[in-house]
């Protein structure tokens, strides 16, 4: 039997893997990502029509979108969509909810403290660490230059 180097083997795997063209991926990401944002626009328009302030509209919209992302992840529908939509489902805030629910569900057998509650933050933790850290730094910079 012929021996393959790691590089050759990698090339073989790449060749035999089902080809989804990059253009197709981009199209899916564009349409699904765009569609999720339209849902967000509908929700924020509803709150705006009720006379809410800009800040409250933003918070309310995030809360509903997160709820929907968590619910559809729990139902197993979000990951089905993610197979096609890729970044179209990862980048919106519904994808952030998905990144919290998926590992938390997966590790439930490890208990409700270190399993569910701990694994919730496998992805969300880094997002909060980098988001909040840079925002504090941004606030300090803004304080110095304003």
């Amino acid at each position: 039997m012929k021996k393959y180097t790691k590089k050759e083997y990698g090339k073989m795997v790449e060749r035999s893997a089902p080809k989804t063209s990059m253009f197709q991926n981009l199209l899916w990401a564009f349409f699904i990502g765009g569609a999720i944002c339209v849902v967000g626009q509908l929700i924020s328009q509803y709150f705006r029509n009720r006379g809410w302030s800009i800040e409250n509209v933003a918070s309310g919209t995030s809360i509903i979108m997160v709820f929907l992302g968590a619910l559809f992840t729990g139902l197993g529908l979000y990951d089905k969509l993610a197979k096609f939509a890729g970044a179209g489902t990862i980048v919106p805030i519904t994808g952030f909810a998905n990144a919290i629910v998926s590992p938390a569900m997966e590790f439930k057998r490890e208990g409700y403290i270190l399993g569910v509650a701990g694994k919730m933050f496998v992805v969300a933790g880094p997002v909060l660490v980098y988001g909040i850290t840079t925002s504090v730094i941004a606030g300090v910079i803004y304080y110095l230059i304003r």
């Binding site: 997160v66 990862i90 952030f96 990144a99 409700y112 909040i132 304080y143």
Partner: protein, 121 residues
């Protein structure tokens, strides 16, 4: 008519932000976690240098629903609080502005994980 335009703008602005993420995934094999961290950080930076705000004015939810919009809300909250409270605001503003979203993520994330089980793949 203008109403219809806001939805159209939300669609393509949000779509393009997701396409940027997809290009990064396809070209660099970045994991979703790295994409999310990069995008939230970029949201903060672009807001600080004044680039993201016009995008929000144009795209509405198309710019605020992507995770870059979370960075935008953090940075904008910090800036606003700095205007009122000075340096203290840099610490309180970001999390205050995003408190609703963060609480929702924790509450609904926990409830969904408890209520549902992973589907057979």
């Amino acid at each position: 008519m203008t109403n219809l335009m806001t939805y159209f703008n939300a669609f393509w602005v949000g779509g393009i932000i997701c396409v940027i993420g997809q290009i990064l995934i396809d070209k660099t094999k970045m994991t979703p976690a790295r994409i999310l961290v990069l995008f939230v950080t970029m949201g903060v930076v672009l807001t600080l240098i004044g680039v993201y705000e016009p995008l929000v004015n144009l795209g509405g939810a198309g710019a605020t629903v992507p995770i870059t919009g979370f960075g935008y809300a953090l940075a904008k909250g910090a800036q606003k609080a700095v205007q009122t409270y000075g340096l203290l605001g840099a610490f309180t503003g970001g999390v205050t502005a995003t408190a609703g979203g963060i609480a929702a993520v924790i509450l609904f994330g926990y409830l969904a994980a408890v209520a549902f089980n992973p589907k057979e793949k």
